[in-house]
Symmetry: C3
Protein backbone atom coordinates (compact mmCIF):
# COMPACT_ATOMS: atom_id res chain seq x y z
CA UNK A 1 0.00 0.00 0.00
CA UNK A 2 1.07 3.53 -0.71
CA UNK A 3 0.83 5.90 2.26
CA UNK A 4 -0.84 9.27 1.91
CA UNK A 5 2.32 11.40 2.16
CA UNK A 6 4.04 9.39 -0.55
CA UNK A 7 1.01 9.46 -2.85
CA UNK A 8 0.70 13.22 -2.57
CA UNK A 9 4.43 13.78 -3.06
CA UNK A 10 4.15 11.81 -6.30
CA UNK A 11 1.03 13.69 -7.40
CA UNK A 12 2.81 17.01 -6.80
CA UNK A 13 5.88 15.80 -8.72
CA UNK A 14 3.72 14.89 -11.72
CA UNK A 15 1.61 18.02 -11.28
CA UNK A 16 4.55 20.36 -11.77
CA UNK A 17 6.71 18.30 -14.12
CA UNK A 18 4.88 19.12 -17.36
CA UNK A 19 4.88 22.84 -16.65
CA UNK A 20 8.67 22.86 -16.58
CA UNK A 21 9.26 21.20 -19.98
CA UNK A 22 6.30 22.99 -21.61
CA UNK A 23 7.49 26.41 -20.38
CA UNK A 24 11.15 25.93 -21.34
CA UNK A 25 12.58 25.32 -17.86
CA UNK A 26 14.62 22.39 -19.12
CA UNK A 27 16.87 21.99 -16.09
CA UNK A 28 13.88 21.89 -13.77
CA UNK A 29 12.35 19.11 -15.86
CA UNK A 30 15.59 17.11 -15.85
CA UNK A 31 15.76 17.50 -12.06
CA UNK A 32 12.54 15.47 -11.70
CA UNK A 33 14.70 12.49 -12.75
CA UNK A 34 17.57 10.94 -10.82
CA UNK A 35 21.08 11.98 -11.90
CA UNK A 36 21.28 8.83 -14.04
CA UNK A 37 17.59 8.83 -14.96
CA UNK A 38 16.42 7.22 -18.20
CA UNK A 39 13.75 8.59 -20.56
CA UNK A 40 12.75 6.00 -23.16
CA UNK A 41 10.13 6.90 -25.76
CA UNK A 42 9.37 5.39 -29.17
CA UNK A 43 8.84 8.95 -30.46
CA UNK A 44 12.58 9.60 -30.28
CA UNK A 45 15.50 7.60 -31.73
CA UNK A 46 17.33 6.67 -28.50
CA UNK A 47 16.75 6.74 -24.77
CA UNK A 48 18.06 9.85 -23.03
CA UNK A 49 20.17 9.08 -19.96
CA UNK A 50 21.38 11.40 -17.22
CA UNK A 51 20.84 15.01 -16.26
CA UNK A 52 22.78 16.57 -19.13
CA UNK A 53 21.05 14.59 -21.86
CA UNK A 54 17.64 15.04 -20.24
CA UNK A 55 18.14 18.80 -20.01
CA UNK A 56 19.15 19.00 -23.66
CA UNK A 57 16.15 16.88 -24.64
CA UNK A 58 13.72 19.15 -22.75
CA UNK A 59 15.31 22.24 -24.28
CA UNK A 60 14.92 20.79 -27.78
CA UNK A 61 11.26 19.97 -27.11
CA UNK A 62 10.59 23.57 -26.15
CA UNK A 63 12.73 25.07 -28.91
CA UNK A 64 11.00 22.93 -31.55
CA UNK A 65 7.58 24.10 -30.33
CA UNK A 66 8.74 27.72 -30.36
CA UNK A 67 10.15 27.37 -33.88
CA UNK A 68 6.82 25.91 -35.01
CA UNK A 69 4.98 28.84 -33.35
CA UNK A 70 3.08 26.36 -31.22
CA UNK A 71 2.45 25.79 -27.56
CA UNK A 72 2.92 22.09 -26.84
CA UNK A 73 1.63 20.58 -23.61
CA UNK A 74 2.07 17.33 -21.72
CA UNK A 75 -1.35 16.58 -20.22
CA UNK A 76 -1.06 14.04 -17.40
CA UNK A 77 -4.07 12.13 -16.04
CA UNK A 78 -4.90 8.85 -14.32
CA UNK A 79 -1.95 8.62 -11.96
CA UNK A 80 -1.82 5.11 -10.53
CA UNK A 81 0.80 4.34 -7.87
CA UNK A 82 2.01 0.95 -6.62
CA UNK A 83 4.66 0.41 -4.01
CA UNK A 84 7.44 -1.89 -5.21
CA UNK A 85 9.78 -1.48 -2.22
CA UNK A 86 10.18 0.93 0.66
CA UNK A 87 11.97 3.46 -1.55
CA UNK A 88 10.61 2.42 -4.94
CA UNK A 89 7.27 2.90 -6.69
CA UNK A 90 5.77 1.94 -10.03
CA UNK A 91 3.71 4.84 -11.40
CA UNK A 92 1.39 4.61 -14.39
CA UNK A 93 -0.28 7.56 -16.04
CA UNK A 94 -1.77 8.71 -19.29
CA UNK A 95 0.07 11.43 -21.18
CA UNK A 96 -1.49 13.34 -24.02
CA UNK A 97 0.70 15.59 -26.11
CA UNK A 98 -1.41 18.53 -27.25
CA UNK A 99 -0.48 21.43 -29.49
CA UNK A 100 -1.98 24.82 -30.26
CA UNK A 101 -0.59 26.98 -33.06
CA UNK A 102 -0.65 30.75 -32.80
CA UNK A 103 -4.18 31.77 -33.77
CA UNK A 104 -5.20 28.17 -34.43
CA UNK A 105 -7.03 25.23 -32.93
CA UNK A 106 -5.79 22.78 -30.34
CA UNK A 107 -5.10 19.25 -31.54
CA UNK A 108 -4.15 16.01 -29.85
CA UNK A 109 -0.72 15.17 -31.23
CA UNK A 110 -0.63 11.72 -29.64
CA UNK A 111 -1.93 9.66 -26.77
CA UNK A 112 0.67 7.80 -24.78
CA UNK A 113 0.92 5.75 -21.61
CA UNK A 114 3.74 6.22 -19.15
CA UNK A 115 5.25 3.62 -16.86
CA UNK A 116 7.75 5.05 -14.43
CA UNK A 117 10.03 3.60 -11.81
CA UNK A 118 10.16 6.24 -9.08
CA UNK A 119 12.73 6.08 -6.29
CA UNK A 120 13.34 7.98 -3.08
CA UNK A 121 16.68 9.81 -2.97
CA UNK A 122 17.51 11.84 0.15
CA UNK A 123 13.82 11.94 1.01
CA UNK A 124 12.70 13.12 -2.46
CA UNK A 125 10.81 10.99 -4.97
CA UNK A 126 12.47 11.13 -8.40
CA UNK A 127 11.95 9.30 -11.69
CA UNK A 128 14.68 6.71 -12.22
CA UNK A 129 13.25 5.33 -15.47
CA UNK A 130 10.42 6.47 -17.72
CA UNK A 131 9.12 4.15 -20.44
CA UNK A 132 6.54 5.58 -22.82
CA UNK A 133 4.23 3.63 -25.12
CA UNK A 134 2.33 5.22 -27.98
CA UNK A 135 -1.27 4.22 -28.47
CA UNK A 136 -0.90 4.43 -32.25
CA UNK A 137 1.62 1.62 -32.48
CA UNK B 1 -15.48 17.52 5.14
CA UNK B 2 -13.36 14.83 3.57
CA UNK B 3 -10.17 14.05 5.49
CA UNK B 4 -6.85 13.84 3.69
CA UNK B 5 -6.38 10.07 3.95
CA UNK B 6 -9.83 9.41 2.52
CA UNK B 7 -9.37 11.90 -0.31
CA UNK B 8 -6.08 10.35 -1.35
CA UNK B 9 -7.42 6.80 -1.11
CA UNK B 10 -10.19 7.84 -3.50
CA UNK B 11 -7.75 9.59 -5.85
CA UNK B 12 -5.60 6.46 -5.96
CA UNK B 13 -8.65 4.28 -6.62
CA UNK B 14 -9.66 6.46 -9.58
CA UNK B 15 -6.03 6.80 -10.68
CA UNK B 16 -5.59 3.08 -11.20
CA UNK B 17 -9.13 2.08 -12.20
CA UNK B 18 -8.96 3.11 -15.86
CA UNK B 19 -5.65 1.34 -16.42
CA UNK B 20 -7.24 -1.97 -15.47
CA UNK B 21 -10.18 -1.84 -17.92
CA UNK B 22 -8.10 -0.21 -20.67
CA UNK B 23 -5.36 -2.85 -20.37
CA UNK B 24 -7.69 -5.85 -20.25
CA UNK B 25 -7.43 -6.64 -16.53
CA UNK B 26 -11.19 -7.06 -16.26
CA UNK B 27 -11.28 -8.68 -12.83
CA UNK B 28 -9.16 -5.91 -11.36
CA UNK B 29 -11.57 -3.32 -12.74
CA UNK B 30 -14.59 -5.17 -11.33
CA UNK B 31 -12.83 -5.32 -7.95
CA UNK B 32 -12.97 -1.52 -7.70
CA UNK B 33 -16.72 -1.99 -7.20
CA UNK B 34 -18.45 -3.64 -4.26
CA UNK B 35 -19.54 -7.26 -4.77
CA UNK B 36 -23.04 -6.02 -5.65
CA UNK B 37 -21.82 -2.84 -7.35
CA UNK B 38 -23.91 -1.19 -10.07
CA UNK B 39 -22.58 0.36 -13.30
CA UNK B 40 -25.27 2.34 -15.08
CA UNK B 41 -24.44 4.07 -18.36
CA UNK B 42 -26.69 5.31 -21.17
CA UNK B 43 -24.08 3.99 -23.64
CA UNK B 44 -25.11 0.41 -22.83
CA UNK B 45 -28.55 -1.25 -22.83
CA UNK B 46 -28.81 -2.23 -19.14
CA UNK B 47 -27.02 -1.57 -15.87
CA UNK B 48 -24.37 -4.16 -14.97
CA UNK B 49 -24.70 -5.47 -11.41
CA UNK B 50 -22.26 -7.53 -9.38
CA UNK B 51 -18.71 -8.75 -9.81
CA UNK B 52 -19.41 -11.34 -12.48
CA UNK B 53 -21.37 -9.01 -14.76
CA UNK B 54 -18.89 -6.17 -14.20
CA UNK B 55 -15.96 -8.42 -15.08
CA UNK B 56 -17.69 -9.58 -18.27
CA UNK B 57 -18.50 -5.97 -19.18
CA UNK B 58 -14.87 -4.87 -18.76
CA UNK B 59 -13.64 -7.84 -20.77
CA UNK B 60 -16.06 -6.97 -23.62
CA UNK B 61 -14.87 -3.35 -23.58
CA UNK B 62 -11.28 -4.46 -24.03
CA UNK B 63 -12.08 -7.18 -26.55
CA UNK B 64 -14.11 -4.75 -28.67
CA UNK B 65 -11.21 -2.30 -28.74
CA UNK B 66 -8.78 -5.06 -29.66
CA UNK B 67 -11.07 -6.29 -32.44
CA UNK B 68 -11.27 -2.74 -33.80
CA UNK B 69 -7.44 -2.47 -33.64
CA UNK B 70 -7.79 0.49 -31.32
CA UNK B 71 -6.53 1.50 -27.94
CA UNK B 72 -9.44 2.92 -25.96
CA UNK B 73 -8.84 4.95 -22.83
CA UNK B 74 -10.91 6.23 -19.93
CA UNK B 75 -9.46 9.63 -19.10
CA UNK B 76 -10.54 10.78 -15.63
CA UNK B 77 -10.24 14.39 -14.46
CA UNK B 78 -11.86 16.80 -12.00
CA UNK B 79 -12.38 14.44 -9.08
CA UNK B 80 -14.73 16.11 -6.59
CA UNK B 81 -15.42 14.34 -3.30
CA UNK B 82 -18.19 15.00 -0.78
CA UNK B 83 -18.74 13.06 2.41
CA UNK B 84 -22.28 11.70 2.70
CA UNK B 85 -21.76 9.61 5.85
CA UNK B 86 -18.84 8.22 7.82
CA UNK B 87 -18.45 5.32 5.37
CA UNK B 88 -20.04 6.85 2.28
CA UNK B 89 -18.90 9.43 -0.25
CA UNK B 90 -20.35 11.06 -3.35
CA UNK B 91 -17.67 11.38 -6.02
CA UNK B 92 -18.05 13.37 -9.24
CA UNK B 93 -15.59 13.31 -12.09
CA UNK B 94 -15.30 13.88 -15.80
CA UNK B 95 -14.65 10.87 -17.97
CA UNK B 96 -13.54 11.16 -21.57
CA UNK B 97 -13.49 8.05 -23.71
CA UNK B 98 -10.65 8.41 -26.18
CA UNK B 99 -9.57 6.07 -28.97
CA UNK B 100 -6.48 5.70 -31.11
CA UNK B 101 -6.45 3.31 -34.08
CA UNK B 102 -3.25 1.55 -35.07
CA UNK B 103 -1.27 4.10 -37.10
CA UNK B 104 -4.04 6.68 -36.78
CA UNK B 105 -5.03 9.78 -34.88
CA UNK B 106 -6.52 10.02 -31.42
CA UNK B 107 -10.15 11.09 -31.22
CA UNK B 108 -12.52 11.92 -28.38
CA UNK B 109 -15.23 9.26 -28.58
CA UNK B 110 -17.46 10.92 -25.99
CA UNK B 111 -17.43 13.21 -22.99
CA UNK B 112 -19.28 11.93 -19.97
CA UNK B 113 -19.79 12.86 -16.34
CA UNK B 114 -19.63 10.29 -13.59
CA UNK B 115 -21.47 10.37 -10.27
CA UNK B 116 -20.43 7.59 -7.94
CA UNK B 117 -21.54 6.44 -4.54
CA UNK B 118 -18.38 5.18 -2.84
CA UNK B 119 -18.52 3.16 0.36
CA UNK B 120 -15.96 1.85 2.83
CA UNK B 121 -15.87 -1.95 3.11
CA UNK B 122 -13.34 -3.48 5.51
CA UNK B 123 -11.33 -0.28 5.40
CA UNK B 124 -11.27 -0.05 1.58
CA UNK B 125 -13.18 2.50 -0.48
CA UNK B 126 -15.15 0.82 -3.27
CA UNK B 127 -17.71 2.00 -5.82
CA UNK B 128 -21.20 0.87 -4.84
CA UNK B 129 -22.99 2.62 -7.69
CA UNK B 130 -21.75 4.42 -10.79
CA UNK B 131 -24.13 6.55 -12.82
CA UNK B 132 -22.82 7.99 -16.08
CA UNK B 133 -24.32 10.84 -18.09
CA UNK B 134 -23.35 11.60 -21.67
CA UNK B 135 -22.80 15.21 -22.62
CA UNK B 136 -24.26 14.60 -26.07
CA UNK B 137 -27.72 13.77 -24.79
CA UNK C 1 7.42 22.77 0.56
CA UNK C 2 3.71 22.14 0.51
CA UNK C 3 2.46 19.83 3.26
CA UNK C 4 0.15 16.95 2.45
CA UNK C 5 -3.01 18.39 4.01
CA UNK C 6 -2.63 21.65 2.11
CA UNK C 7 -1.92 19.90 -1.18
CA UNK C 8 -5.01 17.73 -0.86
CA UNK C 9 -7.22 20.64 0.19
CA UNK C 10 -6.12 22.43 -2.98
CA UNK C 11 -6.69 19.33 -5.14
CA UNK C 12 -10.20 18.98 -3.72
CA UNK C 13 -10.92 22.67 -4.33
CA UNK C 14 -9.89 22.34 -7.98
CA UNK C 15 -11.60 18.96 -8.26
CA UNK C 16 -15.03 20.37 -7.42
CA UNK C 17 -14.70 23.89 -8.83
CA UNK C 18 -15.39 23.06 -12.48
CA UNK C 19 -18.47 21.01 -11.65
CA UNK C 20 -20.10 24.07 -10.09
CA UNK C 21 -19.70 26.43 -13.05
CA UNK C 22 -20.36 23.70 -15.62
CA UNK C 23 -23.57 22.61 -13.86
CA UNK C 24 -24.94 26.11 -13.31
CA UNK C 25 -24.21 26.46 -9.59
CA UNK C 26 -22.84 29.95 -10.08
CA UNK C 27 -22.76 30.97 -6.42
CA UNK C 28 -20.84 27.84 -5.49
CA UNK C 29 -18.25 28.63 -8.15
CA UNK C 30 -17.89 32.23 -6.96
CA UNK C 31 -17.42 30.94 -3.40
CA UNK C 32 -14.18 29.20 -4.44
CA UNK C 33 -12.75 32.73 -4.69
CA UNK C 34 -12.17 35.20 -1.87
CA UNK C 35 -14.85 37.89 -1.41
CA UNK C 36 -12.68 40.29 -3.46
CA UNK C 37 -11.31 37.59 -5.75
CA UNK C 38 -10.15 38.47 -9.26
CA UNK C 39 -10.74 36.41 -12.41
CA UNK C 40 -8.67 37.70 -15.32
CA UNK C 41 -8.92 35.98 -18.69
CA UNK C 42 -8.08 37.21 -22.19
CA UNK C 43 -11.24 35.46 -23.43
CA UNK C 44 -13.39 38.13 -21.73
CA UNK C 45 -13.24 41.93 -22.02
CA UNK C 46 -12.46 42.81 -18.38
CA UNK C 47 -11.41 41.09 -15.17
CA UNK C 48 -14.29 40.09 -12.90
CA UNK C 49 -13.80 41.19 -9.29
CA UNK C 50 -15.71 40.17 -6.19
CA UNK C 51 -18.40 37.65 -5.35
CA UNK C 52 -21.26 39.40 -7.14
CA UNK C 53 -19.43 39.86 -10.43
CA UNK C 54 -17.97 36.33 -10.27
CA UNK C 55 -21.41 34.84 -9.67
CA UNK C 56 -22.87 36.74 -12.61
CA UNK C 57 -19.95 35.64 -14.80
CA UNK C 58 -20.46 31.97 -13.93
CA UNK C 59 -24.19 32.25 -14.54
CA UNK C 60 -23.56 33.78 -17.99
CA UNK C 61 -21.14 30.99 -18.85
CA UNK C 62 -23.76 28.37 -18.06
CA UNK C 63 -26.62 30.28 -19.69
CA UNK C 64 -24.60 30.76 -22.89
CA UNK C 65 -23.90 27.03 -23.06
CA UNK C 66 -27.55 26.23 -22.46
CA UNK C 67 -28.66 28.69 -25.15
CA UNK C 68 -26.23 27.06 -27.58
CA UNK C 69 -27.61 23.59 -26.64
CA UNK C 70 -24.15 22.56 -25.55
CA UNK C 71 -22.52 21.14 -22.49
CA UNK C 72 -19.33 23.09 -21.81
CA UNK C 73 -16.71 21.73 -19.44
CA UNK C 74 -13.64 23.05 -17.69
CA UNK C 75 -11.16 20.16 -17.70
CA UNK C 76 -8.40 20.70 -15.13
CA UNK C 77 -5.13 18.75 -15.16
CA UNK C 78 -1.50 19.10 -14.07
CA UNK C 79 -2.04 20.85 -10.75
CA UNK C 80 1.31 22.21 -9.55
CA UNK C 81 1.46 23.84 -6.13
CA UNK C 82 4.19 26.07 -4.67
CA UNK C 83 4.12 27.65 -1.24
CA UNK C 84 4.66 31.40 -1.36
CA UNK C 85 4.00 32.13 2.33
CA UNK C 86 2.38 30.36 5.26
CA UNK C 87 -1.09 31.31 4.06
CA UNK C 88 -0.41 31.79 0.36
CA UNK C 89 0.21 29.43 -2.54
CA UNK C 90 0.92 29.74 -6.26
CA UNK C 91 -1.03 27.11 -8.18
CA UNK C 92 -0.53 26.32 -11.86
CA UNK C 93 -2.76 24.06 -13.89
CA UNK C 94 -3.89 23.35 -17.40
CA UNK C 95 -7.48 24.13 -18.26
CA UNK C 96 -9.15 22.85 -21.40
CA UNK C 97 -12.53 24.22 -22.34
CA UNK C 98 -14.45 21.45 -24.07
CA UNK C 99 -17.90 21.52 -25.62
CA UNK C 100 -20.39 18.89 -26.75
CA UNK C 101 -23.52 19.88 -28.69
CA UNK C 102 -26.71 17.91 -28.29
CA UNK C 103 -26.31 14.85 -30.51
CA UNK C 104 -22.90 16.01 -31.68
CA UNK C 105 -19.19 15.46 -31.18
CA UNK C 106 -16.99 16.81 -28.43
CA UNK C 107 -14.49 19.48 -29.44
CA UNK C 108 -11.67 21.28 -27.67
CA UNK C 109 -12.73 24.92 -27.62
CA UNK C 110 -9.40 26.17 -26.30
CA UNK C 111 -6.38 25.18 -24.27
CA UNK C 112 -5.41 27.56 -21.51
CA UNK C 113 -3.01 27.72 -18.61
CA UNK C 114 -4.07 28.98 -15.22
CA UNK C 115 -1.91 30.72 -12.63
CA UNK C 116 -3.68 31.27 -9.34
CA UNK C 117 -2.79 32.97 -6.11
CA UNK C 118 -4.50 30.91 -3.42
CA UNK C 119 -4.82 32.16 0.14
CA UNK C 120 -5.99 30.68 3.43
CA UNK C 121 -9.00 32.47 4.94
CA UNK C 122 -10.39 31.15 8.22
CA UNK C 123 -8.73 27.81 7.55
CA UNK C 124 -10.05 27.47 3.99
CA UNK C 125 -7.98 27.80 0.83
CA UNK C 126 -9.61 30.19 -1.65
CA UNK C 127 -8.55 31.73 -4.96
CA UNK C 128 -7.57 35.36 -4.51
CA UNK C 129 -6.51 35.94 -8.11
CA UNK C 130 -6.81 33.83 -11.24
CA UNK C 131 -4.86 34.78 -14.35
CA UNK C 132 -5.55 32.77 -17.49
CA UNK C 133 -3.38 32.59 -20.62
CA UNK C 134 -4.60 31.18 -23.91
CA UNK C 135 -2.30 28.90 -25.84
CA UNK C 136 -3.53 30.33 -29.15
CA UNK C 137 -2.19 33.81 -28.49
Amino acid sequence: MVDTDTAVAVQLLYGRQSHSIDSGRAGEWAATFTADGVFDSPSYPEPEVGTEALTAFAQRFFDDATAAQEKRRHVITNIGIERVADDELAVDCYLQIMATPLGGETRIVRFTTVRDRVVRVDGHWLIARRAISRDDN
